[in-house]
């Protein structure tokens, strides 16, 4: 396997390159499975960059972003988010970092017992207590407008389609105006048209809010549309890295196979 290293400088508004996520030599093993999923992953993500992570199922893509947000403890290595080592933070400090991060789950993870309004209001009530009820309502409506689902405000999650749930999940994630977005297979289980709509939404979010994103996907159309840079995971390592077009024309047959070439 030929490893492609294509460092891509990303210029921020200030013109400086600033890495908001730095992962160094990350190892993660599941003891019950006696299986080392990540065997030394190194990755940096610059401010405002959209990084797409590709790889076969079970290669640890979702584990990678769950480690970044502190949902899973790492075995070895270091993850720095906004310059802070996630593993060394107290619960309060970790929560302060988490408020600046958004995580869109594969299943959207809407709270079943709450309406769409309550789903969006829940993180607001917890993290932005200083906002008045009117300001919270305005923010909820703004986010629902962004995802084109103002009409669903009083619906229960069970009354929504898969695509609508993903959009509401995205709205809930964006309501705290995160600086980093982590997407776990945002288009999985959706039809082609809805997948494209979600991908375009991700792109518009990135442009509008200037967020930094890591997107886990198997959907090459989504990758093509959203990626500034693509990394490919295999056997616990990042084995290829580059832009969509550079990897599409890679010398490596295995890398090209992701692009149906």
């Amino acid at each position: 396997m030929q490893v492609q290293e294509l460092p891509i400088p990303i210029a921020t508004d200030s013109g400086l390159i600033k890495d908001v996520i730095q992962i160094k030599n990350l190892h993660k093993t599941f003891t019950d499975r006696e299986h080392e999923v990540l065997k030394g992953v190194n990755l940096t993500v610059a401010k405002g960059e959209n990084v797409v992570v590709l790889g076969k199922s079970g290669t640890g893509k979702s584990v990678l972003i769950k480690c970044i947000v502190g949902l899973m403890a790492i075995d070895e290595g270091e993850i720095n988010v906004f310059g802070k080592n996630i593993s060394e933070l107290s619960e309060k400090e970790l929560n302060d970092v988490r408020v600046k991060m958004g995580f869109l789950f594969q299943s959207a993870a809407l709270y079943d017992s709450m309406t769409v309004r309550e789903n969006l209001n829940f993180p607001l009530r917890r993290s932005l207590k200083h906002l008045s009820a009117k300001e919270k309502e305005e923010r909820i409506l703004e986010q629902l407008h962004n995802v084109g689902l103002e009409s669903a405000i009083d619906k229960m999650p069970s009354a929504l389609s898969g695509g609508m749930r993903k959009r509401i999940g995205l709205a809930r994630t964006l309501i705290l105006k995160p600086e980093i977005m982590l997407y776990d297979e945002p288009t999985t289980g959706l039809d082609t048209i809805t997948s494209k709509e979600i991908s375009e939404l991700i792109l518009s979010v990135q442009k509008k809010n200037k967020t930094t994103s890591i997107i886990i996907t198997h959907d090459m159309e989504c990758a093509k549309l959203t990626a500034d840079r693509i990394v490919i995971l295999k056997d616990g390592f990042i084995v290829a890295e580059g832009t969509y077009s550079s990897l599409e024309n890679s010398q490596d047959e295995w890398v090209r196979s992701f692009f149906n070439k």
Binding site: K66, V69, G70, L71, E91, N95, D96, R98, V99, M101, F103, F105, Q106, S107, A109, L110, Y111, D112, F122, P123, R126, S127, L176
Partner: protein, 267 residues
Amino acid sequence: MEPQDISANSEITQSAIGNYLKEAFKSVGEITQFGVRFFKELLLPPYEFKAFFIQCYKIGNKSLPLVAITGFIMGLVLTLQARPTLAEFGAESWLPGMVALSLIREIAPVITALISAGKIGSGIGAELGSMKVTEQIDAMEVSAINPFKYLVVTRILATTLMIPLLVFFADGIGMLGAYVGVNIHNHVTLIRFFHQAISKINFIDIIPATIKSVFFGFFIGLIGCYNGYTADNGTESVGKAANTAVVMASLTIFIIDMLAVQIIDLL
């Protein structure tokens, strides 16, 4: 059968029992850790009052019809079953007092707790298990919300408070059932019936039963939450969490009841 086969079977059986005991002790250890975490989180702010009151409403208010039906039938059946024996000794007038004591000391707490283990314990196990499988618990955590405090602490507190109240309710409804049972064969006024019943009840009959009910409630909540919160991924684990919650909680209720009887006996 060859002697070797018996020896081999015996080893297999011993190994199976060993594994079963190992798993049982592991579960007890994990539930203990879960309980210790509950007390730690309980004392630390922020306090989830709103979520706690919602759970009290769900656990308490929504269980009233079931507890009422069960309590009424308990009182009625107990009266009808006990009456012929007491009538043989001409002691029918003892019926209200005997039924009241049986209900308050033992039957209402245990039956209400078992009913609650089935309804509330399994409900909590399935709800939290489902939230775990659909990543709702993870979603709370990444939103900087402590899911243990919001989901677990509130539910355990609510069951601890609501089960004793449901037991009191079952006591009252059970007495009404007993009154109906008495009136099937004799005519006794409601005031006279309750006067006869209450005259046989002492303070000492109510306190141990109430303390016992608090423990029943705590363990129903703890076991339901533990099984749901630690459910594996996959829809199968939701059913398993609900089922295990009922089985473990029911068994725990009987163990607590047995210990309570022994302790009260010593006092």
